[in-house]
């Protein structure tokens, strides 16, 4: 059986283990990308909109943090949330929640950096008008976000792609426990270790199919918004 056949058999057989893995993966990727989007867009917007001393340094730090190595984030979160760590009492080690936390740490700077970079020119053009109209803060925020919707959709897609394909951090803080914290990527890594290459590739194909689905939805959303704009 080649990998494609195996993937098809896996999908159609409604294997409970696979369903659990997919469910865990989606729960994690959607949660972490959504939380990272909220936090990151806010940070990126605050930096893009405001002029303050040291802004350039903040931007450099933000862009540096975009390259945070997942394994390092994993180890730091692991140390902090271990039984012997300062947050050990929360008992989050080897849980999906902790995987989400690790990914939020990893992805928020990426979202913030991309938001700052992609919205800065727009914000610069809008700033005099927004300030001159005396708009309330929520309204200003809403107007900038609305104008930047295409860029933000692209930013979200990147965040989601990063979340669903990440393995280094979640392997460490999640422990790859069957039926609990095993995701598609950690399962792929495990299957590589046990020599089940075709199963690994099959899982990879399913993962790509999910990513394709999310991208299609986002693409349709963009087209829909464009149509409404004309």
């Amino acid at each position: 059986m080649n990998a494609f056949e195996k993937a098809w058999v896996l999908v159609t057989s409604q294997d409970p283990m696979l369903q659990n893995i997919v469910k865990t993966t989606l729960e994690m990727a959607f949660s972490s990308s959504a939380i990272a989007l909220l936090l990151g867009v806010l940070i990126g917007l605050v930096v893009a909109y405001n002029d303050f001393p040291g802004k350039k340094i903040v931007v450099v730090i933000m862009r540096t943090l975009m390259g945070l190595p997942p394994v390092v984030v994993g180890i730091v979160v692991y140390i902090l949330f271990s039984g012997t760590g300062p947050f050990g009492h929360l008992k989050l080690i080897y849980s999906v929640d902790l995987m989400i936390i690790a990914q939020v740490v990893l992805i928020t700077p990426i979202v913030a950096g991309m938001t700052e970079t992609s919205l800065s020119p727009l914000v610069d053009r809008m700033r005099p008008t927004l300030k001159g109209l005396n708009l309330s803060l929520p309204k200003k925020t809403a107007l900038v976000l609305f104008e930047g919707k295409y860029q933000l959709i692209a930013v979200y897609l990147f965040a989601f792609a990063r979340a669903i394909s990440e393995v280094g951090a979640i392997q460490i803080v999640g422990g790859n426990i069957l039926n609990k914290t095993r995701t598609m990527t950690t399962a792929i890594a495990l299957n590589y270790n046990t020599g089940d290459f075709s199963l690994a590739v099959a899982l990879g194909i399913i993962l790509l199919a999910i990513a394709l689905g999310v991208n299609l939805v986002a693409g349709l959303l963009q087209i829909g918004l464009k149509k409404r704009n004309d």
């Binding site: 708009l135 309204k139 704009n229």
Partner: protein, 223 residues
Amino acid sequence: MIEITARKKYGDRVVLDIDKLRFEKGRVYALIGTNGSGKSTLLQALAKVIDFKGDVKGLTGKDVAYMPQKSFAFSTSVLANVTAPCPIHRIFTERAKAKRLLKSLALDHLSKKNASRLSGGETQRVALARMLVAPHDFLLLDEPSASLDVESTLISEEVLMDYLERTGCTLIFATHSIAQAKRLADEVIVLDGGKVVERGFTDQVLENPENDKTRSFLEQFNR
């Protein structure tokens, strides 16, 4: 009454150097001067859109609205653009007002169009409507008819004067048009190199300027 004292430098160049410039409530002021004379910067300082050394007295609790030279049109409908400054809970009642405004500015045929796709002149008139939908204490307009043809300019001025009469709002505007200053302003303030070189009643300043800079500026304009 408000009083502004402001200094602003870009690098070594002084772009604004104003000492205790006063504006009386309910009057119309025209700022004139060559490019780079500091008209826009003065308006931005009054609107607190830029940081500067100095302060503006008498603005506490006052509502100041400022329209930049190039206003940003939100990529929503023209009508939604005009009602953008209205509080959300009043947006429906304000909509009727906005429609009347658009009609008086001869823009009602555009009200459902996406504002980000309008021409420069249309955008400027939509931006003006957006300024006038709510009552303000001070209205600061930076070359409000720079991209408008004669007819649109006159219509806009009519709507603007009507608004001032109804609300008792103070208007300070920058312009390149001496004729417009004559039509609208009670007083004219002439700027050069960031400094006020002359101020006074419109006719007096424009017909019998006392300052050499004003004179050369007006000559240049008449030529």
